[in-house]
Symmetry: C2
Subunit: 325 residues, 2 copies
Amino acid sequence: MTIDFKQDILAPVATEFAAMDKLINEGISSKVALVMAVSKHVVEAGGKRMRPIMCLLAARACGETDLDQAQKLAAIIEMLHTATLVHDDVVDESGLRRGKPTANATWNNQTAVLVGDFLISRAFDLLVDLNNMVLLKDFSTGTCEIAEGEVLQLQAQHQPDTDEATYLSIIHGKTSRLFELATEGAAILAGKEQYREPLRLFAGHFGNAFQIIDDILDYTSDAETLGKNIGDDLMEGKPTLPLISALQNTTGEDHDIIRRSIATGGVSELDRVIQIVQNSGALDYCRQRATEETETALKALFQLPESEYRHALYNLAQMALHRIQ
Amino acid sequence: MTIDFKQDILAPVATEFAAMDKLINEGISSKVALVMAVSKHVVEAGGKRMRPIMCLLAARACGETDLDQAQKLAAIIEMLHTATLVHDDVVDESGLRRGKPTANATWNNQTAVLVGDFLISRAFDLLVDLNNMVLLKDFSTGTCEIAEGEVLQLQAQHQPDTDEATYLSIIHGKTSRLFELATEGAAILAGKEQYREPLRLFAGHFGNAFQIIDDILDYTSDAETLGKNIGDDLMEGKPTLPLISALQNTTGEDHDIIRRSIATGGVSELDRVIQIVQNSGALDYCRQRATEETETALKALFQLPESEYRHALYNLAQMALHRIQ
């Protein structure tokens, strides 16, 4: 069965999603025209809004009835996500994201850095309005960990000795932590203490799987379907799991080529690296790890009562996994 | 009388200041080595720590006795300030700050952007620990306004039609707002509702004076004494008050030269611009405005009971004004 995003994931919270979208547009309003223009540009260039949808589904799966609060939280999550994307594009010097010009490319680095700062601050401002100290602490600690994960990724760049544990710390910070905030935050707001840990575990392991899958696709996808180019990570000398695993599985010249590619970055040996990654069994290992992470995620999810919302979260995890099958 | 910073401003809160300094170092600790290294670098490259000293003096002037809380707030203020400096240096492509290499120059833009994000998040994390919703709301709104002020400054760059009202909005956001948070925040923490508004007014108008003075010095100072080079603002086409006022006071060729200099930036006509600014009476007007802002600030300050702490804040305002006399 092919999972359809709109039908099988979004549909149960379509009404809340539309309300959330309006809240984002209100949230980014500013008396400074340039702040508005850039925020609007980056929010509209957004993707499927997977994180706020997870937040809304988690809230509903908890039995949350104060949907107004949950919608605000979902909007905050998307604003935080957008802020990190804006800064990431400055960091990566990206000109395009999902085929559209980035903020730094459309305006400049200066504008992108400062509007990113505005979006972080505005997200916190809206969060304070939710008037929940437990939620605030979760988010303030979480956003520190997200920033630390991003810096850890920078620190690991061009380091062929990066191990799987460090890789997991990186992806937890840069990807999974916001997923955790989206779902655990919904449980906190709903006052459902018993669902906090299951939802955090679901989102954390799903996030790990999602990022591992993304890193696999950097060595297998074709540009057309993804908006991400094959070899992007290699270009930047990022020691992602396919390369870490390939180093484990190889010796001699193959091993040296991978090490050198991480150390120097660039794609002059891309074809050879792809060949080594594929032949070494590294991709099989990555697929296995993504499947394991998904299974752990789903095990945690099943601690919540059955509902169409829980099922939509299940579908989301399955759909992510289908990308590498 | 010459005011001595250490003796006449810092001395009454020297003990609290030392404790606050330790808190900053604890605050920037991170398990990610690169986060620690960069944070330490930028915090140590800090200046006089005027903002946290204002916070401590304001707390004491309110009669605050829970100094532990006030010290934490002062540390948070300095961390927020440091974060904005790190991002400002990326924005301005600065290589040096106070004669020391900036984070973006020592590492790179990427690292500076992300460590700045970490410092903002950590500051909020420590703020949440103070467990005061009124304070949190003041800071979350305030940091939005700071970011908006920074973007407004970017928007006004190269715009010769920028008026004094817009200039005041810019400097309120980029400078005065954090001063307000430092002092009004101290009153909120101290539970002294009646001193919130006087301290906010004092800090806001002092901040305006401080920034106007800084902008005057860009056309009168010599590089040796300030770490700021004459003509820096002109280089970037920033329509600061000396230029806005010069445009008001000139016609014909002089007027055209100033307009063109703002529009294009650069310092090819620096000598001529300085001459026009000085001859047009613009600097006199700026000095008058700085004096007025200081007077308004002090009038608000005198609503607090007399104390050595209030007197130290008075000295601070006087010392700032002395820079242009």
